[in-house]
């Protein structure tokens, strides 16, 4: 039973490590350019791939006139290029984007208008870190270590109590 709990714990730590490994501090936000696709059928997004390192981009598009919104996660198509396929009606839009994992995330919010004919098709910005500047890189791994310890302790207590229950017949 102990071996089993050990392997489960190792597996969960491995999963966490993989996500934390993608969380090494970058400390510099990428520049971003939005391109309204022809006939306003969506948005092309260009970022600096060296900084975003091919990560997924969480996007949140809000029609500021109707307050209708749409959220999705985009995977990069090639070096730093993403594409959101979503027909844009004539309106003012707010577009929020984020990349990074855990507490090391970068976000940018841009506003643009879609008119007919389009008066402008390119909009630019720079991702800003969502983390306070003084936070040490070790904060999150340390926190996860505390969580791992408490999880192990909880599993051990649960196993002990289940052991007690399962021994009832032979008691």
């Amino acid at each position: 039973m102990l071996k089993f709990y050990g392997s489960l714990f190792v597996f969960l730590i491995m999963l966490l490590s993989m996500t934390i490994a993608q969380n090494l501090p970058i400390r510099q936000g990428s520049a971003v350019t939005l391109n309204i696709l022809p006939e306003a059928q969506g948005i092309g997004i260009e970022v600096d791939e060296k900084l975003t390192q091919g990560r997924e981009l969480t996007t949140w598009l809000r029609n500021l006139d109707t307050q209708k919104s749409f959220r999705t996660v985009l995977a990069p198509q090639d070096d730093g290029n993403y594409q959101l396929n979503y027909p844009l009606a004539e309106a003012r839009y707010g577009f929020w984007m984020r990349y990074g994992t855990g507490i090391d995330t970068y976000s940018e919010y841009l506003r643009f208008s879609v008119t007919n004919p389009l008066s402008s098709t390119r909009f630019g910005g720079i991702f800003q870190s969502e983390l306070r500047p003084h936070v040490p890189a070790s904060a999150q791994p340390l926190g996860y270590a505390v969580f791992g310890f408490i999880m192990l302790l909880s599993l051990a207590i649960t196993a002990l109590l289940f052991g007690k229950i399962s021994r009832v017949k032979t008691a």
Partner: protein, 348 residues
């Protein structure tokens, strides 16, 4: 429906039970309130930000947990039955299930100030999987597992009410499922901070734990399906409540989570419970059931415009996520099997 459980003859029949004592009704209400409160809290953070510690959803969660903790302590002190399940500690007779509930509730309340301190130190947290949040979710999962164990054992301490307590244990199993599915709430709300392949892993594998536990304990036929139905109803209630607090009180809730579809996986778990397949193969089947069920639900919800967010399980996420999901599902089914055997040992 068939009822399979038998009571051990060694237990003295005593009049006191934890339902009559008021512990189990309050626990049922408290854990459900906590479940609702956590989703409401996430919606509040998305819609309104983190303005202070004493927000309505925080007050809701922590009041519920405080009541659960106080009732657990009361039950630990008041319950003096001398059954083989109870742990002897001086004059006290500690019910193992209640002990787990108390530990979970205490851990949750202990980490509430730690979470607030973390926020003050490091700024508004953008991830549900921040260490302090994970400790809170672990604590609540522990409490709901304890509740399920309590109800199950009460059935054997009160043989004349076995069916009632077995049904109650399935309700708590649905709460347990709800609590460990909250780990995926960021994906459900469409604002994930971790990669999409992790969603594939956990959404496919996590339901295996509680569904196999229910189908293996099998107090009734289709127990896992019953758990999945209760879980789905809880979610529908949650969506209604979020709409209400948003429209009537302006207390967040405009952003709503996608419901996880565990019905197909649950039906498979019930179907496979009596089959002689290897356990690892059953784990793969149930996790693939969860994967397919959820994938179909995402497609349907999006095509019918029932949701504002689109889950994008892109090919890279699937290639990395599915193998991990299968490994985790196999580990979890063995864990569930071990727990269920522990609870049913005296039937051997």
């Amino acid at each position: 429906m068939t009822y399979h459980s038998q009571a051990p003859s060694t237990i003295k029949h005593q009049r006191l039970n934890l339902w009559r004592l008021g512990f189990l009704p309050l626990l049922a209400l408290g854990l459900f309130s906590g479940f609702i409160g956590v989703y409401w809290d996430i919606a509040w953070h998305i819609d309104k930000g983190r303005d202070s510690f004493f927000t309505p959803p925080h007050n809701f969660i922590y009041s519920a947990m405080a009541i659960v903790l106080l009732m657990s302590i009361f039950a630990l002190l008041r319950d003096r039955r001398d059954s083989p399940y109870h742990l002897k500690l001086g004059r006290l007779r500690l019910h193992p299930g209640v002990l787990l509930v108390a530990l979970g509730a205490a851990l949750e309340l202990l980490f509430a100030p730690a979470d607030d301190f973390w926020h003050r130190l490091y700024g508004p947290e953008v991830s549900l999987w921040a260490p302090m949040h994970l400790i809170g979710l672990l604590a609540l999962s522990l409490a709901s597992l304890g509740a399920m164990v309590t109800a199950w054992l009460e059935g054997h301490l009160n043989p004349n009410k076995q069916a009632f307590f077995a049904a109650l244990s399935l309700y708590f199993c649905a709460i347990f499922l709800g609590w460990h599915m909250i780990f995926l709430a960021e994906y459900a709300f469409g604002v994930p901070v971790f990669p999409m392949w992790v969603h594939v892993v956990f959404l496919s594998a996590l339901p295996v734990l509680s569904l196999w536990l229910a189908s293996h304990l099998r107090p009734f036929a289709l127990s896992a399906t019953a758990v999945a139905v209760i879980y789905t109803l809880m979610h529908l209630f949650l969506l209604g409540l979020l709409s209400f607090v948003n429209q009537q009180l302006d207390w967040g809730g405009a952003t709503q989570p996608l419901i996880a579809n565990v019905l197909l996986a649950a039906f498979l778990a019930d179907l496979l419970a009596t089959r002689s397949w290897p356990l690892w193969l059953k784990a793969i089947a149930i996790s693939l059931g969860s994967f397919v069920g959820n994938w179909l639900l995402f497609k349907l919800s999006f095509s019918l415009s029932l949701t504002q967010s689109a889950i994008n399980w892109h090919p890279q996420a699937l290639m990395l996520g599915l193998p991990f999901a299968i490994v985790l599902a196999i580990l979890l089914i063995y864990l569930a099997e071990g727990m269920a055997k522990g609870l049913k040992r005296y039937h051997a």
